[in-house]
């Protein structure tokens, strides 16, 4: 006599790493001529930090422009209009948080 196997359900919302998941874009050799996206989540002094980072990048390189995005909150993605700006105008993006 063989006993029936114990059947149990996967408790997750899917695997943590999936083949083909998005990857970080390749880093350009220089920031000269790039449009820098600076995405801030609003926590703590993150706005001050990202503004200072933008100034520092301008001092060290010759970017052709900058797009500052401030998210509505820590737990929400950027607004669709902000996503559109990031994907259409920006060639290099930096995200960050503060506490």
């Amino acid at each position: 006599m063989t006993s029936k196997p114990l059947i149990a359900l996967d408790p997750t919302s899917g695997p943590l790493q999936r083949k083909g998941d998005r990857e970080l874009a390749a880093r350009p050799p220089t920031l000269d001529g790039q449009v820098i996206g600076l995405v801030t989540n609003g926590l703590g002094r993150s706005e001050d930090f990202m503004l200072a980072l933008g100034d520092e990048i301008e001092r060290l390189a010759k970017p052709s422009g900058a797009v500052h995005i401030l998210k509505a909150g820590v737990s929400v993605p950027p607004e669709p209009t902000d996503w559109a700006r990031l994907t259409s105008e920006v060639s290099v993006a930096v995200t960050g948080f503060g506490g």
């Binding site: 114990l6 059947i7 359900l9 996967d10 408790p11 919302s13 943590l16 820590v74 737990s75 993605p77």
Partner: protein, 325 residues
């Protein structure tokens, strides 16, 4: 029809080891989430498996009733607890609950589930002696079920999307009830806009905890003054997204009785705390609440220890959700 992938094991020991190896537990043994058990839980809450309870947009995660049921079975809940688990999951996933932040934070904030209404008696939620601790199945497993959903479904896994430096033992499970029969004080869920005949959970993400023990004070004003020292020492922070915060204050019976003897309501206590915390002095921190309603007062605990517990918030509002049966 259930959607989750199915796994077959020769016996419970093999299942327990595999679930642990896959990172699907909190380190403690789990109850096997068989299809039959999960279906019984969904039936208890009258929910279809694909009912959406909420989502975590930044993680591209959608949480369904089936997800919650699987993890509630694993946590050791009874089917009758499941409507309370569902309400807690819905509350946790409310936008102003800020769950991506509260479960990913370096500070290791914990999620506290406060239960109000008749459901406390129906399923055995403890609100008296030892109610924060072990020994009460409903308290232990409902709090654990929420945390397993946070881990398994919302992906708040230490070192992955949970970046807590230390975390907290409160993260295994933290659920208790308000002792509504100890007085005629207005229950928390009624202060939060629900009807007294309804049952509800309030989920509060706490970044730090202070037990304020005071055996000396004998008047409401004196007790409030001692509380205010701690309140203003730590403060309540809110950012641009939240605008204002909420703080959970659990009043033990040895403090509560002085308020009751003097005829003080919760409303009077909240008003005094609000007025006295408006202007922080040197070395004190702002208490960023929108008004007296930002102080969520709950009566609980057992006699003997003259203490009241302050659960200072992480960046989130406490969210109250009706339990639907």
């Amino acid at each position: 029809m259930l959607h989750a992938a199915r796994h077959a094991y020769d016996d419970y020991a093999a299942l327990a080891e595999d679930y642990d190896a896959r990172g699907w537990t909190d380190g403690l043994p789990i109850v096997p989430p068989t299809p039959e058990a999960v279906e019984a839980f969904l039936a208890a809450a009258n929910l279809a498996p694909d009912t959406i309870l909420g989502e975590v947009p930044t993680r591209e995660v959608v949480v369904t009733a089936e997800h919650a049921a699987i993890n509630a079975v694993m946590a050791g809940c009874r089917p009758a607890y499941f409507p309370t688990v569902v309400a807690a999951v819905r509350a946790h996933l409310h936008e102003k609950g800020n769950c991506h932040s509260t479960t990913g934070t370096l500070s290791g904030a914990s999620q506290i589930v406060v239960v109000n209404g008749a459901v406390r008696e129906e399923i055995g939620i403890e609100s008296g002696e030892g109610c924060f601790g072990p020994g009460f199945r409903a308290n232990a497993t409902i709090g654990r079920a929420l945390r397993l959903v946070i881990r398994n479904v919302c992906r708040a896994i230490p070192g992955y999307l949970d970046r807590a430096s230390f975390a907290s033992p409160f993260r295994y499970s933290f659920c208790f009830g308000e002792n509504e029969s100890a007085s005629d004080w207005t229950p928390l869920h009624v202060h939060r806009g629900l009807d007294v005949n309804e049952s509800a959970v309030t989920v509060h993400s706490a970044m730090s905890v202070s037990e304020v023990a005071d055996f000396e004070s004998r008047t409401p004003e004196a007790i409030c003054d001692v509380w205010l020292e701690e309140l203003l020492r730590k403060g309540v922070y809110a950012d641009r997204f939240l605008q204002h915060g909420t703080i959970l204050i659990v009043i033990g019976p040895e403090h509560q009785r002085f308020f009751l003897e003097a005829g003080w309501s919760k409303e009077q206590i909240r008003q005094r705390l609000f007025e006295k915390s408006r202007k922080p002095g040197p070395g004190q921190r702002p208490v960023s609440v929108a008004g007296p309603e930002g102080f969520m007062l709950v009566a609980a605990g057992g006699r003997g220890m003259a203490s009241t517990w302050f659960f200072f918030p992480h960046l989130a509002w406490a969210i109250t959700e009706k339990i639907r049966t």
